[in-house]
């Protein structure tokens, strides 16, 4: 809880300037309200008590007009300033959160439900904003404005001033008493919202699976139950919140009534001038107004704190340790790699690699084989910088990988994953993965090399077809080939592949193998191989078991090796 509050205070400096401006403008508006009350009270006194004609009060009435205008201008700019304060914080938080997630990397993110993260980055940030745009300015004004009113009231009527001073502290007291309970409930409500959001996105993504098992209608009841739970919880929080504003309004109203009664009887007994009485009565509501505004802003604060907790959780996702500044890789266009006794232990205690040592020469083609869980993916994830070694060291062209700037290093890699992600963008951008100028010729060549031309031809708008999350009705194999086209377009000295040839028919598999041959020429290639062709064409096969190298040698050395036979699929039978 305190951690969250510290976190929110930490964001304050970004907003300070605008917040200060907003408070100054609002305070000036408050002073004008006092002047306005003075003018109105004197006009009403002159007419109702002294029997003045319109001409006599006209000067003070006309003075009101510029005052009204000035107040409108002050209110407008005060609101603008506090909006800017909130927006600046929101922008900063989203940028910092995304930066953190990028540094945490895809392996750490895989453990987080996407829907929850999306809620944290959208709804929760939106709920934090009012803390800066509404709560903080109101909190500063809550002492300033009543004080100014009090200073104006004392010379007119000290008794009313006493009533105001005595009743004022009761309001925040009650607010805190009721607000404390609401705050705890509010935390729970935010957790619920996040859970509901995560659940919904999960259900929608899995709708096909649910339908296969005739569970999609059953799930409707679950959606209804969660929505109903959410309603009940939200209402419980709101009812408390409304109760605290009821208490607030009640005290403010009763206090004004007490002030009015005291003034009324002293007027009746002739102990007080009407001007003083009317002036104080006009100001009395203004004395409580900031406190009442704080009441509503206080709920904004509670919601913001609840939401901030979701956001701080996001910053808790561990980030692989990397030095801040790295050198750039001496770029001879060739990459050699050595793993020196590398170990990887994940946050949950699972062992990814254990004493893994391997030297890959520049231009060499390595096929990694081994049972699932042997650590093949971890080897690729290490090279991609998605996980950091917990022991040992990796060297690239003699330089420790840790010392190389990650972005620079990744420019040397073309990566084909097992499940290439297709982005909500057109096909050309999905292949080129750049927002710079597209190299049309390079796009054509890459598509040709990946045997993806027929896929492009079959799409309604060719390269300009916008792909959805799972492609445009593309099959797994077609998505693989688009991923392959990506790798060809990348044209990098190190190629990392995960089962790159899975899903292709024999005909295109041979062509793709030939294409990979071409791609591999003069490049270093490390492939996780599940297929004989990939392994057979390699310069060296590395057999992995339990996070380490069990055997290594040329493909011929493994002929008839029983350890390998079961791991590699054979050619498609006729």
């Amino acid at each position: 809880m305190d951690r969250v509050k510290t976190f929110m205070k930490g964001e304050k400096p970004i907003a300070t300037r605008d917040l200060r401006l907003s408070v100054i403008l609002s305070f000036a508006n408050g002073l004008l309200i006092i002047a306005q009350a003075f003018l109105i009270a004197s006009a009403v006194t002159a007419v109702a008590i002294d029997g003045a004609v319109l001409d006599a009060v006209l000067p003070s009435l006309l003075l009101l007009l510029p005052l009204f205008l000035a107040r409108a201008v002050l209110i407008y700019f005060a609101e603008q300033a506090s909006f800017r304060a909130g927006a600046a914080v929101k922008r900063d938080l989203r940028a910092r959160a995304l930066d953190h997630l990028r540094r945490a990397g895809p392996v750490a993110l895989a453990e987080q439900p996407t829907g929850r993260l999306v809620t944290a980055l959208t709804d929760s940030l939106a709920a934090i904003e009012p803390y800066y745009s509404r709560y903080l300015p109101t909190a500063s004004l809550v002492t300033l404005l009543p004080l100014a009113v009090l200073v104006a009231v004392v010379p007119s009527d000290w008794l009313s001033a006493v009533v105001l001073v005595v009743t004022a502290p009761l309001i925040p007291l009650f607010m805190v008493l009721i607000g404390g309970g609401a705050e705890r409930m509010n935390q729970r409500q935010w957790q619920k919202l996040a859970r509901m959001s995560g659940h919904l996105i999960d259900v929608i993504q899995g709708l096909t699976t649910l339908k296969i098992f005739n569970a999609s209608r059953r799930e409707a009841a679950e959606v209804a139950r969660m929505a109903e739970d959410y309603r009940r919880d939200t209402m419980a929080v709101l009812r408390l919140a409304f109760l605290s504003s009821l208490a607030l309004e009640f005290f403010a109203t009763v206090s004004i009534a007490i002030v009015a009664v005291f003034i009324g009887f002293r007027l009746l007994w002739g102990e007080m001038a009407f001007f003083n009485g009317f002036f104080v009565l006009l100001l009395a509501p203004e004395f409580y107004l900031p406190l009442r505004t704080l009441g509503t802003a206080y709920h904004a604060r509670m919601e913001a704190i609840g939401a901030a907790e979701r956001v701080t959780e996001l910053f808790d996702i561990p980030v692989p340790a990397r030095p801040a500044e790295g050198t750039t890789l001496a770029d001879g266009g060739r990459i050699d790699i050595s793993f020196e006794d590398v170990g990887v232990v994940f946050a949950d205690g699972r062992v990814g690699l254990d004493g893994f040592s391997l030297t890959v020469a520049a231009g060499e083609r390595i096929a990694l084989v081994g049972p699932s869980g042997a650590g093949k993916s971890t080897v690729l994830n290490l090279l991609l910088g998605f996980v950091a070694p917990t022991s040992g060291r990796i060297r690239v062209n003699g330089t420790p990988l840790d010392d190389i700037d990650l972005a620079d290093w990744r420019q040397h890699i073309a990566h084909l994953s097992q499940h290439p992600h297709l982005f909500h963008a057109d096909l050309a951008e999905n292949i080129a993965m750049t927002d710079g100028v597209l190299d049309e010729a390079r796009l054509e060549t890459a598509t040709e090399a990946a045997f993806a031309r027929e896929i492009v031809a079959a799409l309604p708008d060719g390269f300009s077809t916008r792909l959805g999350e799972r492609g445009f009705g593309l099959s797994g194999g077609e998505i693989q080939r688009i991923g392959l086209a990506r790798a060809f377009y990348r044209d990098a000295p190190l190629v990392l592949m995960d089962e790159a040839t899975a899903h292709l028919d024999r005909d295109s598999e041979q062509k793709v193998s030939a294409a990979i041959d071409r791609l591999a020429t003069g490049r270093t290639l490390i492939a996780i191989a599940h297929r004989l062709e990939t392994a057979r064409d390699a310069d060296r096969i590395v057999l992995m078991e339990e996070g380490r190298v069990a055997a290594t040698g040329r493909p011929g050395d493994f002929a008839g090796d029983p350890r390998l036979a079961g791991l590699i699929a054979e050619e498609v039978a006729e």
Partner: protein, 565 residues
Amino acid sequence: MSDLLRLLKLFRPYWLWMAGSIALSLASVLANVGLMAVSGWFITAMALAGLAGVSMNYFTPAALIRAFAIVRTVGRYGERVISHEATFRLLAELRTWFYRRIEPLAPAGLAKAHSGDVHARLSSDIDRLELVFLRFFAPVTVAALASLVVVAVLFAWHPQIAASQAVLLALAGIALPVLVAKAGGAPSERLTHQGAEMTTKLVDMLDGLGTLQAHGFDAAHAARIEALTCGMIAEETRLSRLSGLSTAGVGLATNMALFAAIALAVPAVRSGALAPADLAMVALLAMASFEAIGPLPLAAQSLGGTLASARRIFALADGAPPVAVPARPAPLPLNAADAALLSFRGVGLTYPGAARPALCDIDLDLMPGTRTGLLGASGSGKSSLVNLALRFWPPETGRISLSGTDVADLDPEDVRRQISAVSQHAHLFTASIAENLRVAAPDAPLGKLEEACRIAQVHDFIAAQPDGYDTLVGANGLKLSGGEARRIAVARALLKEAPILLLDEPGEGLDRATETAMLEALFDATGERAVLYITHRPVALERMHALLLMERSRIVDRRAAPQMG
């Protein structure tokens, strides 16, 4: 406008709640006006009585002030509770309604809709609809009624003041909101679309981070999100300027009402048309009556965005399901032991917008106790067969029948009741392994789950986890390796007791040894089920009774396999 009407129609079951909340809100607004007016009158009258040295009846006004104060505070509380209760009831109902509407569309009808986008519609768009009652319908009704009452009361005192009040109320309550709504309509509609785009971009970023980073594109993608954030803030700034203008505008109108009331009342007091004590009353009444107008500009401004949300929700929910449910579904036929459970006759399919057909002239029979292998390269149309069999998509030509009855005459749910399947994109939910398995069989005891997992060769892995079958699966099952997730999906399909089993690349992501072991155990366990085994890899084909080879959307070769398993 028709969208607004349709929305209001959805509110109909809750009209009593809404009428109650409007009545309470009106009472509380009027009580405040009364409180101010009576207080102003009260102290002026007391002062005049004091000056004149006469006594006056202060019990009645004091009682009125007390009554108004109570109605004001309690009424406000009751109104808030009731209006929010009504709104949240509606929202809960709306979410379920929306889910029920899109459920028949999946997967074909949703193929083009990004799941992040559907999610945005389901949660934030629906959330935004709360504004229709709370921020639009209720404030507008209350403001209109309260203004009528105030102007009528003022009219009894002084017609001219009533007229000036009516003009200013109309300026602040009608002209200003309409202007603000006109100016704010475009930005808030843009903001709604940007919000959906933001969700889509974030989902792309989070789910595709590996691909983005490997290609050094994550910084650029983050920069796009940053640019979108700035774009959204720019729109929000426009809206905030408008809301600042309207706050200032309503404030100005309030003050002008006060000014006009005093300026008009002074001569009336002089001429004796108005009692001196009434001057303070009329002035304060004029000012207080603007309380109800305050929320109107904002209400009008939010309407554009709210209607955009409503339109997006309706657009998706109104999509026609790709497979129609017959008005009177035929009863599920019984199957004779020697007849085909599922048969395709001359089935063809071309997806809308696709250049070439996905399936051509397919003939296929799945018999009880028989395993059919379907071999073919990716893109040859194998997975479309599964989509047709599961009634996710209707055949364009030809006929698909279940135990002799055309599937078009059957309820798609009934058809799926007869089929279990491992599809290409089998989804694992963010839940425990056991919960994921029980999607197929909600009441299956743990023993059954273990049995299925043993066959799928994944029991040992699960048992080795600290939490066993209660181990939580990460987002999209990504905490598991591809092979582990696949094997759990296979175990899940086995748990559904259906006479037909469709396996679309069940061994994907598995190493050869595990794949072979799994398929051997799987085919030992299929018994009397009719099995269609789709693969591009020649594993365990000797366990098939018949083999089909598919190429370019057609079955090009069929042969009976020699071995019987």
